[in-house]
Structures are given as C-alpha cells and as structure tokens.
C-alpha cells in the first residue's frame, strides 16, 4: 500500500521507469479542460483515466455562470440541443459604477437566442457532468472522489503517472494532462508554476439568489430562454477587480473578482464588498427579494499571456486554468471556453504523441503549435496587456468616476447656462477625477493597441 497524504505533497515521487502502464493517458481534473482532453483521447482510441477530487464533476467548481460555447462545435456537434442551458445570453452589458451612479453600455441581440448562439448561462454542477459523460461514453474511465497528490517521475524528470490519496493509489501512464485548475499542484510539482502567483491571481466570490422566472424576465427585460450577462467596473472599492451579474432560469448569479494583494491591503472582507454592490441603486432593484441559495468563492488566474507557465514537460501537459488560460479583462470574463479549447488541443496532441511513441516534451510540442493556431493562444497573445490595463489604478479608481461625471454633465440640463462642448466636459470630468488628459490619451492608445 502506498503512503496516503492528507493533501497534495510538495515533491514528485521518484519511480523507476514502468515496465507496463495502467493507462495510455491520465487526465487530472474533470473540469471543462480535463473532460475535453479525455474525450479527445478516448475518441482517438486511447485508454484514459479521468481523475476528479469531487464526488462528481462540477461538484467543487465555482464560476460566474456564462459559457461561450461555440468552441464546442468541434468537440460535440449539435451541443446546442443537449447542453444543460439555463438561459441563452441575448443581452450583454458593461456597467461602470461610481458612487451611487452608473453608466451602462447595453447590447441586445435576439439572434443570440437562436442557433448558432453566442453564450449561455449554465450551472457547473450540470455542465461539467454533461461534458464528462461524453468523455465516459467515448471510453474514458472517470474516477471521482480521488485527489491526485503527486506526480510519479523517473530519475530523468519525465512524468510517468500520478499518486492519488487512495490506498494503492499509484497510477501510471505515458502522459499526464494536468487540468487541475488555477492552483495546479501538478504544475507546481513539475516546477512549471513559479513566480509570484498571488499578484496575478484574483479571488472570485459569488452569490446565487433565487428569483421566480417571471420576475427575472420582467426586471431584466428578457423573455423565454433569453438571458443577460452584465460585467461591471468600479464596484470593488479600493480593491482592483470587477463584478458580474448573470441570469439563470430561476436565479441570478452576482459576484466580484478581487485582486488578492489589493484585498489583503484594503483589509476588507469580500462578502462586505458584495453586500455593498447589492445595495447599489443600479443593482438593488435587480436583485431585490432574491433568496440566497449559495455563496461560493474560488481563485482565478488573471495574469494572462505574460504569466502563463511553460505548457509542456516530458510526459506532462498543462491545460485550462492550470496553464493560466483564463481571460479576465474588464468586459470579458471567460475561462470555460479557453479551458475547452486548450483541453481539446492537449488531448489531440497527447494522442498524436502516443501514436508516434514519443511523449517527451519534443513529442508533445504539437500542443503549443495547435494552441497558437487556435483562438486560445492567439487571443491571449493579442490581449497580453489587457490584465495590466484593466487592473491599473487609473482604470480601477479614476475612470469609473470620470465616465460617470462625463455622462452626468452630458445628460444634465442646467439651463439657462449654455451647454459646453463634449471636449470641455471631458476635460472637466478628467480634472475632477485627477486624470491628466495626457494619461487619458496614453491609456486610450494602449487600449486601442490591446483591444483593437
């Protein structure tokens, strides 16, 4: 019987090179990245174990609530008909809050309520099992309630399996795919995830508030299966971050994303900030009367491209949040689609490497090129400056006030004084919020370069 650790150990376990393997591949974590990878491997005819620490996939996972599912076209044709959807997102808003004021960009597209669809709200406790079931049907062996505590490595550093917290819990395979989420112990053990993780990790906190379907329809101006996705800036006090509000069939999810360092410095509790957001005059009427049915919290890797670890080692691939592939940049909070995309690429690359018999880092290199030619790395590379920009002091502390001041002066009617021009109003708003026009222009240019 092998040693049983209470939690993940810090060091990999040295083993001699196995004579025979239990599986061709082991995927750690049955989140979207892991299940997508396992599905691809099983489809390629490979024996694959999908290890999950929760009693069922999705039981431990927290996210805001929206999945942009088009990436599934290449994985599960016809997914729109079978995915467990709460509501299709037909309305997207970006809201900037300052004090008791708010400015919202509101986009509505009823076409998003029909195929091919844009985004959907879905519960992870339903979405993740649905995806894992596809992997199982294709032949992957799902092993729930099992924590992977260490990598098994040979003297040359190559990964040949994992140790789990179960008795006799060692499992060998030619390749291991670490899809174990943001705080990937496997990536750490492999020496791939170093550096100052805390400074580019945020804490996401979320409340699910039950509301009758009709009330949600009325308040958010949607009907049938239509739903709303609201991203917010300026709602986190002195802590860098943002907020979100999504509609489910009979509940809404409201939450905050808070920079860890800023949160520690500000010495506030996340639930207090969330309570404040719920009291905001623009948000309170939307969530009024909602019965709190769930409070949850989870870390988010927010560093983007610049802080991504190396994705490949001998016998090991990283995908999804374990590889820092979450895109959190103000008007975007996406991770599931990147996890799916990277999981697919990882599964395919591992299957190819297994077919050629070379699962060394060189043999697995197809993974990086596949990611580069897909949206996963292309988007991250293009938006590599977005995290810095969005979490910058000006963007967080000054621009929300500036925008609200500007909107207020544009919309206020204070006759008999003559209306000043937009430029004068902008200058006034900038001055009032301590922003130099030079910095505003510079940030606008960076923004254009980053997002343009």
């Amino acid at each position: 019987m092998s040693d049983r650790g209470a939690g993940p150990s810090t060091a990999a376990v040295p083993i001699p090179r196995p004579q025979r393997y239990d599986f061709d591949a082991i995927v750690v974590g049955a989140g979207p990245a892991g299940s997508a990878a396992a599905l691809e491997l099983a489809r390629a005819g490979r024996s694959v174990a999908l290890l999950e620490r929760g009693p069922f996939p999705g039981s431990k996972n927290v996210y805001g609530g929206v999945v942009y599912g088009r990436v599934l076209d290449g994985l599960i044709p016809g997914w729109q008909q079978e995915m467990p959807v709460q509501r299709w997102v037909t309305r997207r808003q970006t809201m900037v809050l300052s004090g008791a004021r708010s400015l919202t960009v509101d986009f509505r597209n009823e076409n998003w309520g029909r195929a091919p669809h844009n985004g959907a709200t879905t519960h992870r406790a339903e979405f993740d099992p649905w995806l894992a079931e596809h992997a199982q049907r294709a032949g992957a062996v799902l092993v729930p309630s099992t924590v992977v505590v260490a990598l098994l490595r040979t003297a040359d550093g190559a990964v040949h399996g994992v140790r789990t917290d179960r008795p006799d819990g060692d499992l060998t395979a030619r390749v291991v795919l670490a899809c174990d989420g943001v705080n990937s112990f496997l990536a750490k053990q492999a020496g791939l995830l170093g550096g100052d993780q805390a400074s580019h990790t945020t804490l996401g906190v979320k409340e699910t508030l039950a509301l009758p379907r009709g009330v949600i329809d009325e308040r958010f101006g949607v009907t049938g299966s239509g739903g709303v996705d609201v991203e917010m800036l300026g709602c986190t006090g002195k802590v860098p971050g943002g907020g979100f509000l999504y509609t489910n069939a009979e509940s809404v999810s409201i939450g905050l994303v808070l920079g860890l360092r800023g949160l520690a410095r500000a010495k506030v509790r996340p639930e207090h900030l969330l309570a404040e957001l719920k009291r905001h005059p623009s948000i309170a009427p939307l969530v009024r009367g909602g019965e709190l049915v769930e409070y949850s919290a989870h870390l988010i890797p927010e560093g983007g491209y610049r802080t991504m670890p190396p994705l490949i080692a001998d016998g090991l691939l990283l995908a999804g949040d374990a590889a820092g592939m979450c895109l959190a940049a103000g008007i975007w909070l996406e991770g599931v689609n990147f996890a799916l995309g990277s999981g697919m690429c990882a599964g395919r690359a591992a299957a190819t490497a297994l077919a050629t018999g070379d699962t060394s880092a060189a043999g697995l290199a197809g993974y990086r090129s596949a990611l580069r030619s897909s949206f996963v790395l292309a988007d991250h590379e293009r938006l590599r400056d977005a995290p810095g920009l969005v979490l910058s002091e000006r963007m967080q502390q000054r621009y929300p006030g500036l925008l609200c001041d500007f909107a207020e002066s544009v919309f206020a009617v204070d006759n008999p004084r003559p209306k000043p021009g937009f430029r004068a109003l902008l200058r006034r708003a900038a001055k009032r919020n301590g922003v130099r026009m030079r910095d505003l222009a510079k940030d606008a240019l960076t923004g254009l370069r980053t997002f343009g």
């Binding site: 174990a49 062996v141 099992t146 789990t164 008795p167 499992l171 509301l211 379907r213 009709g214 009367g289």
Partner: protein, 286 residues
Amino acid sequence: MFVVVALRWVDERAEVDPLSGRVRTSDRSAGASAADAAALELGLRLAGSTGGRCAAVSLAPAGADELLRGALASGTDEVLRVEPAGEPDPRAADSGAGTAVALAAAVRERFGAPDLVLTGDHSPDRGTGATPALLAAEFGCAQALGLVSLDTEPAADGRLRALRRLDRGRRERLAVPLPAVCSVEAAGVRPRTAALPAVLAARSAEVPVVAARAAPDPPPLTAAHGYRPRAKELPAPAGADPLRRLRELTGAGQRSDPPRVVVTDDPAEAADELLAFLRAEGYLDG
C-alpha cells in the same frame, strides 16, 4: 459472521420547489448518508474481524448502482439492488414498513438469514428511524437502535457490545445477542477510502437486481394534507391604530416577490401556463 448492511440511496442536497413544495433530487448528488456510510464501515470491520462476509443491499432505482459499486470497492463481498415495485404515493407517510418487507424478503431469498443487519439510524429523507425496527420484526430477531458505538469484535459470549444515547446525556450499555438488527449514528466512525485498484475493478462490476416483493397493501388513503406546524405565538404589534397593527401582523401592503406560476401578461398564454401547472401537479387528472 454474515453481515448485511442496508443502504438508503438519498440526495442530501435535495431542492424544494417554493410553490408546489415538490422535492427535486438528483442522481448525481445522491448516495449514502453519513450514518449509512458508518454502518457500512462497521459491517466491513465486523466481517473482517470474524472472518465472515459482508453484503450491501439497497431498495432503490438504477441510479443506486454507483452507490453499490462504491460498497464493492470498499470491500463488501456482494451487493444487491432491490428494484422498488412502482412509485410510492407521494401523499402517503412513509412508515418504512414497505422497505423492511422488500429488503428482508430479498435478503432472505438471495443470501439466507444474516447474523447481523446494520443500517444508519435514520434516513435523511422523511426518515423516522422506524425501518430498522421493522426489519428486526421481519427477521424476527433482536434490535438495538440509535447506537453511538458498536464493538467490531464480538465478546466471548458471542454478543456484540454497544452503546446507546439516552436523554440528558445518559448512555446505555447493551449486550446484543445475534441475530440482530442494529442502527448506528455517524459519530466516531471514519469510513474507509477504497483502494484505487478496487475502485477501477468495481467500475465494470455487474450489480445484481431483484424485484421488490410488494408490501402488503397499506390502508387506502382517502385524504391527505400537508404537515401543519402549530401556530407560533407572536407578541402583539405595537401602535394605537388598529389598521396599522393588522397590517403589521399580516404583512399586507409590504413589497414581496412571492413565487408565481403565471409570468406572462398575455391572457391566453397565462391560461396555458396555469393549466400546465395544474396538470403537472396532478389537479386535472381524470
């Protein structure tokens, strides 16, 4: 010693519809309660210490196969699923009598008479804790219910030593003669983690299924109504104005968002929604 552990397949995270009161459960989050898991652990230890056998049984639909595979992975020698005979009347109180009849018959037929039947003290869904007692009646053996501890090696006289919780923090020591039915609390027992090879092997294990023998017909149910708790006494509202006091008492005029059936303004659609709800609730049957 031959030990049978009866496991109830329950979803401890069930949701209750605020409008209809209907309970929604999910196969995914269903499993054994902590007390049932403790019963299984004690069963395995007792069988192990006496060189005997341990079997796990459950009266449950096919979703419970995973639960029984988990029991196999943990070391039970055999499992058996008893397929329930039809849907129970949701309005009727569940005394556990039907469960006891079905389980006892299936166990006797498949395994013969057990030396010991172990269960959790009561099931988290509608459980009264009566099923173990009714099982003891079915098997015609001794019973010791609500145990906080049970020695996993029989004493020299062949009896089991157990401890039972009494009111006011008192404890009762019992010497339980066999055969017996014992129900246990979850406290103090840490269920084992199944070994990985056993988990992998159990994944493809066939779970034998037998149909439940129908319980004797319960008395016909002519009417049933929901549980009505006793009225709560509240202090009289303050204020001189009777109308204000009445409003405060009844909550009239306060803004609230009660659960609703009809969510549309269109009268025809509203009628359809209402009819669909009444039909789904069974009010328009027949």
